[in-house]
């Protein structure tokens, strides 16, 4: 998750497919997001780079669809159903996740542990 200005961001990502759960009138995914280009990145407890304005997963409800799908707290969401999430506002992110006509969202997430794992395996 290192960001070199001017260079395309590269990251090791994991695909996570979340099937939304219907709760009454709402479709919930079972996690919370934080961050956004309109937010203060310094407040983000999960980001390594405190200037990173990406969307991060701040909590995952136990037993919810997100947890089942393998989403973990602290993940940075890179894409949702193909839509970029690295340069969006908080509300735009929320909207892209909560589209009512979509039952499934496919996320591309990245986390530090992934990168470490890949690096480790490469080094070996």
């Amino acid at each position: 998750m290192s960001y070199i200005p001017g260079q395309p961001v590269t990251a090791v990502v994991q695909r996570i497919e979340i099937h939304k759960l219907r709760q009454g009138d709402n479709l919930i995914l079972g996690f919370s997001i934080g961050g956004g280009i309109d937010q203060d990145p310094g407040q983000n407890p999960f980001s390594e780079d405190k200037t990173d304005k990406g969307i991060y997963v701040t909590r995952v409800t136990k037993g919810g669809p997100a947890e089942v799908a393998g989403l973990m707290m602290g993940d940075k969401i890179m894409q949702v159903n193909g839509w970029d999430m690295t340069m969006v506002t908080h509300d735009q992110a929320r909207k892209r996740l909560t589209k009512k006509n979509e039952d499934v969202v496919r996320l591309l997430v990245t986390r530090k542990s992934l990168e470490d794992a890949v690096r480790q395996s490469m080094m070996q």
């Binding site: 709760q23 009454g24 009138d25 709402n26 919930i28 995914l29 996690f31 919370s32 997001i33 934080g34 956004g36 309109d38 937010q39 203060d40 407040q43 983000n44 407890p45 701040t58 909590r59 506002t89 908080h90 509300d91 735009q92 992110a93 929320r94 909207k95 996740l97 909560t98």
Partner: protein
């Protein structure tokens, strides 16, 4: 839609030209058309304005170039309301998505802040005209909102016929600038203006059933409009509403109106008028695309004149509400308003029979007026009249005197009043509230009197300095003279109906006064009042003489306020917890609304588990964030 709009314009035009034979039918028509414009005007303007809108304001519908026909009030500026079900066709900018835009800026802000943001973003664009435009957007929002509520209030303030309104404090024909997009399409139109109490109404003619527009003057600031191309233009500015531009044909007229409007703007105490939430601050019907060259109705000599009393007879010694009136009046009776052109002969000034020519130079702005120091007796000098006999006193008109009365010199008496008589009359007044040493008083007025007789220029400086030279924090006599000065000052600044300066030479007498006051830790009324930070702090901290008790009291105060804050937070939380029909949407809204509290709660709840070195007791993590409100990391549940 554009066709409809044109249709409206057409019906209006013939009305205009038939002004000479205007009758009730026409005014009825205008009645109708005004209301109809409410409906129709929105759409075409939207498409016209849409091209221009690239900022996020684009979401709001455009506004008619002429003023909105709805009264708006700053407190009513609401978030955008969709006028109809969908946007009109042809809007190039994306609408629904940008709905998000106001939302997250609103988090934590008040509505007003949002409005200000939009307004200020408009200012960046061009020049003065855009400022007005941005206010239009703001006003448009309210316009639509009000319309849905029922348009009674919008035109109701204007539904007063010219005749019913009666004589105002000031009346006359004024040019009013129609708002037009861009700088080069300034259109001026002449209206019959009536200033009544603190509201300004204007009619296209004096027989109108309904006022073309009205503004409620308090909160407006009257100033010279240098940006206008017209020579004698002035404006009424409001921080939240657009500015109104007026113009006259001569300097005296302009001064007169500026005076009167300015007086009206400040002439009322705030608790009288101000915060009525649905108060109509102004209202204006849509202007037509007629340029200002309409012929005015000739109804006879008097209505044509700018008249205070509607008596055409002019006598320079007869009572007038304002010193200038005499001049104006005599001039206006010879004025012919029949031509609506700008080029009016400057002869009016020379047609005076009375010797009262004003010595004013250019018009001073309102700010100047306020800042101009007063004489030590608290008088404002108006223009002085060289021609008038100095026999017995000054040629100057005396402004309001202090002594606790707002209107000591009734307008009737003012004009020829000499200082001598005035002083004599008011000495007892002054003695009343402020029992000062008689000798000192008597000494000073004599001095002043002499000065007043002397020259036209306001001898304030010298006098002020003289009075203040003896001003020390210590001596009681000096303080008294300060008291003497200051209450008059106060009264003058508040009750300055008749005061006007024409002279520019005043310097910072008033500033000096206030500075000395501050040094002396006195209030404007002469009481002891803390003026330095230490003094303030001390006065706050010290509640009783015993320091121990003091500390305890202080502690109690702090704890009480903390308790109050916590109770407030608790109430906010209960909003959510006590709701039996809580939906995630509601919760989300609540969360966005109370972000900080929510974050603190999250921090608190996850603190002890996640972050072991977060804080000692359970209470402290909660206490500090809530009091400090440092966190603003927003989380949204999806």
């Amino acid at each position: 839609m554009p066709t409809e709009y044109n249709w409206m314009a057409e019906t209006k035009e013939p009305n205009m030209y038939k002004r000479g034979s205007r009758d009730s039918d026409n005014s009825l028509l205008r009645y109708l058309s005004d209301d109809k414009i409410l409906v129709i005007q929105e759409e075409p303007e939207a498409s016209r304005e849409s091209k221009r809108d690239t900022s996020r304001r684009s979401r709001k519908k455009g506004k008619s170039p002429s003023s909105p026909s709805y009264p708006i009030s700053p407190s009513l500026l609401a978030p955008p309301v969709r006028l109809d079900s969908g946007p009109p066709e042809g809007l190039p900018f994306p609408l629904p998505e940008s709905n998000t835009v106001p939302l997250y800026h609103r988090a934590g802000d008040t509505l007003r802040a949002e409005t200000d943001r939009y307004a200020s973003s408009g200012i960046d664009r061009q020049g003065g005209s855009s400022m007005r435009k941005s206010f239009h957007y703001a006003s448009l929002r309210t316009k639509t909102k009000k319309r849905t509520k029922g348009s009674l209030t919008s035109a109701s303030r204007r539904r007063i016929s010219c005749k019913d309104l009666g004589h105002g404090d000031c009346e006359g024909w004024l040019w009013k600038k129609k708002d037009a997009k861009g700088y080069f399409t300034q259109k001026w139109k002449k209206y019959w203006f009536i200033l009544k109490d603190s509201s300004l109404y204007w009619y296209t003619n004096q027989n109108d059933e309904k006022a073309e527009g009205f503004i409620s003057l308090p909160e407006f600031r009257i100033d010279r409009a240098i940006e206008c191309r017209r020579k004698f233009a002035f404006k009424a500015c409001h921080p939240k509403i657009k500015s109104f531009f007026f113009a006259t044909d001569c300097l005296e007229e302009m001064n007169r109106w500026m005076n009167r409007l300015g007086l009206a703007a400040i002439g009322y105490t705030p608790d009288d008028k101000v915060p009525r939430p649905d108060e109509d601050y102004w209202s204006e019907s849509d202007q037509d695309d007629i340029d200002g060259s309409m012929t005015l109705k000739q109804e006879g000599p008097s209505p044509q004149c700018d008249s205070y009393h509607r008596t055409p007879s002019v006598n320079s010694s007869s009572p007038f509400p304002e010193h200038k009136h005499g001049r104006h009046f005599s001039s206006e009776s010879t004025y012919s308003h029949s031509s609506a052109e700008d080029s009016r002969p400057d002869a009016p000034g020379s047609t005076h029979s009375s010797g009262c020519r004003s010595t004013h130079r250019e018009r001073r702005s309102w700010q100047d007026l306020i800042e101009t120091p007063l004489t030590s007796s608290g008088l404002h000098f108006l223009q002085t009249v060289p021609g008038e006999g100095d026999g017995g006193g000054s040629g100057g008109y005396v402004g309001t005197m202090g002594g606790g009365r707002r209107e000591p010199m009734s307008p009737d008496r003012r004009r020829q009043a000499t200082l001598l008589t005035v002083q004599r009359r008011h000495r007892p007044d002054r003695d009343g509230p402020f029992p000062l040493a008689g000798s000192e008083e008597r000494g000073v007025p004599a001095h002043r009197r002499a000065q007043k007789q002397r020259s036209q220029s306001l001898p304030r400086n010298r006098e002020g300095r003289g009075a203040k030279a003896g001003l020390h924090p210590a001596g009681p006599s000096e303080e008294k003279s300060e008291d003497d000065e200051v209450p008059f000052l106060k009264h003058n600044s508040t009750g300055r109906e008749e005061c006007r300066h024409e002279d520019r030479e005043m310097t910072d007498g008033l500033q000096e006064l206030y500075r000395s006051l501050e040094q002396a830790s006195l209030s404007a009324f002469g009481e002891q009042r803390p003026s330095t930070k230490q003094e303030f702090r001390r006065s706050f901290v010290k509640r009783c003489n015993d320091p121990v008790v003091n500390d305890k009291l202080h502690r109690i105060r702090a704890l009480r306020s903390t308790l109050k804050a916590k109770e407030g937070d608790l109430a906010i939380v209960s909003q959510v917890l006590d709701d039996p029909s809580l939906t995630s949407k509601k919760f989300r809204e609540w969360k966005q609304h109370n972000q900080e509290l929510f974050m603190d709660i999250c921090e608190f709840s996850s603190g002890p588990t996640r972050d072991p070195h977060n804080g000692a007791a359970e209470l402290s993590p909660l206490a500090t964030p809530l009091m400090a409100h440092t966190h603003s990391f927003i989380e949204t549940h999806v």
